[in-house]
Amino acid sequence: MLDTVFFYTFAIITLLGAILTITRRNAVHSAIALIISLCGVAGLFLLQKAEFLFAVQIVLYVGGIMVLFLFVIMLVNLDEAAKLRQFNKQWLLALAAVAAAGAAMFYFLRQGAPALRLAAPAASPSAEGNIETIGKVLFEEYLLPFEVASLLLLAAIVGSVIMAKKRV
């Protein structure tokens, strides 16, 4: 019962934030709307008993990525762009394509809904906490992808520094 209320609250926060993100003229307003939307998603993670991802979402997305976005918005002069047209010429076509994709998705979700009804939440994986479980699976089964991710991050660091440098 309380779950239902929380779900709809977080869902509305997420979707409203997302709609504001793509419709605001000022990029700083967009970024703040995106922060609100990401906080809504974090709430949904908590509702789904993914406590570790809730923390990661807040710390990494809201604290890391969004600060990066705000810094870049302030580095790049967006005042002139804010005065111009905000949507490109094909926006009507884009809207039609998105609406068609949405219709297809909702049709298939309706078809598959009976199979996905969650009678009782599947028994929690084990008695230990969420973070402990994730740690065990991540460092036992997914150790190689974890290490490869560090390589990806190294490449991203070097790449972004080279991109943003004045002279290579």
């Binding site: 779950d3 993670f45 991802l53 949405g102 996905l116 969420n130």
Partner: protein, 103 residues
């Protein structure tokens, strides 16, 4: 009146978020907002992964969500670096003004 929340609810929410993000990528001109829309799309994917992780009672979905977040961080950093380089060279942040490769 209030039905209990099923996995389908989460899937519908995730689909809606994905569509909003796609619309942002396709229709906006400002590159900063296009990058933010990509973040929205990746969050929709994460909601989906978490919902199925709960549905199946496995933690694998959450592991994949961690990897998705890692890739999102890398993508945002490189994307914003490219944006700064672009702004330095062309003085624009509008995606449809960068049409050097367009016929």
């Amino acid at each position: 009146m209030l039905h209990p929340i099923t996995t389908t609810h989460y899937l519908i929410l995730s689909a809606a978020l994905l569509l909003i993000g796609t619309l942002g990528v396709l229709a906006r001109r400002n590159i900063v907002i296009i990058l933010m829309s990509i973040e929205l799309i990746l969050n929709a994917v994460n909601i989906n992964l978490i919902a199925f992780s709960r549905h199946l009672g496995q933690v694998t979905g959450q592991i994949f969500a961690i990897f998705v977040i890692t890739v999102a961080v890398a993508e945002a950093a490189v994307g914003l670096g490219i944006l700064i380089a672009l702004f330095r060279n062309k003085e624009t942040v509008l995606a449809d003004e960068v049409d050097l490769l367009k016929w």
